[in-house]
């Protein structure tokens, strides 16, 4: 389960938001590298892309430090990783879905 810091709701929401920003930033990184490797960018474009990503990294780190949410963000991301792993596990092994659905039906009875 995602473990959000509930002592401070604002804190918790901010942690969630920054965690999602990091996920989007990672996706941006991957796309940028793909474009660079694909050869569709000129050298000055690569330079500008790199700088923009660097600035984004720094901004994210700064927000985390100032708001003291570095740990909070990490737990959200770890929680997300676990959820994704779990879903993939079930896709690879459909028996587990069936078992879970079966368990839930038993609980209701």
């Amino acid at each position: 389960m995602i473990d959000i810091d509930e002592d401070n709701l604002k804190h918790g929401v901010l942690g969630l938001v920054i965690a999602l920003v990091e996920v989007i930033r990672d996706a941006l990184r991957i796309q940028a590298f793909k474009r660079m490797e694909g050869g569709s960018l000129k050298e000055d474009e690569v330079e500008r892309l790199g700088e923009a990503l660097m600035d984004l990294d720094m901004a994210i780190e700064q927000i985390k430090e100032e708001q003291g949410i570095t740990q909070s963000v990490q737990s959200v991301r770890d929680g997300l990783d676990n959820i994704v792993d779990d879903v993939l596990d079930k896709m690879v092994n459909p028996e587990r879905w069936r078992e879970e659905v079966g368990d839930k039906q038993m609980e209701r009875m």
Binding site: F33, M36, V46, R48, L49, G50, E51, A52
Partner: protein, 276 residues
Amino acid sequence: MLDNNKPEVVVANEVKAESKGEGRYLYCVADNGERADLGKIGLDGKEVYTIPLADLCAVVHNCPSEPYKSEDQEVVKRWVMTHEKVVEIAGERFGTVLPLGFDTIIKGEEDISPEENIKNWLKQDYANLKEKMNKVRDKAEYGVQIFWDPKFITDEITKTSEEIKSLNQDIISKPKGMAYMLKPKLENLLKKEMEKKADLCSKDFYARIKKCVFEIRVEKTKKTDEKRQMLMNLSCLVGKEKSKELGEELQKISEQEGFFVRFTGPWPPYSFVAFG
């Protein structure tokens, strides 16, 4: 609710329940047909003895049919060490043994006592067990783990790869945005080269070690710290005369710069007697 009008049925049930609740903790199978007492050397000071069938016997102690469990790590450690000690003593007394893993317990069933269960198993699996005995006689198990220093190997690879050298140069010399974009490319390249080298080294070491042993098993590698990376984890079944040869080959491997070897044993052949 007990039915007081039928005492005979109650007694019969109690007897059944008793033989259902008892088990035999199995340490190993030994190459000997004696009915023997080894003394109170078992887990929690239990009396260890043998259940023979033909020229084999099971080394056991009496226990409840529940597995040994404890939250306390020290208790579990002590149990495991006791288990290993009993297997060792049985090996010294009976010559060849097929060890079982910790916490193997044979239960009774409907109308079969655990003792009978064990005898049936020895009977049914007799040929297989004798074959295994012959395989491991006068041999011991050794553990071989080979590590390398990832930083040292990375430096070596960097020295010998033109592509990596030039990428490194670019990262130092080019403007920061470009450098940022090139870093993952460098990491990827290094990762690929490391994997290639790990593969080459592993294959070489495996071939050299295989020549010195009777049988070899590849085990999972484990994570250590960043200073050392485990390259291979092997269990080797080695004849007593050949263990020196293996030691010398491992010595040569450990002399290669950046490589380390961990050589453990001799153990009873736990990994080479797979019981179904």
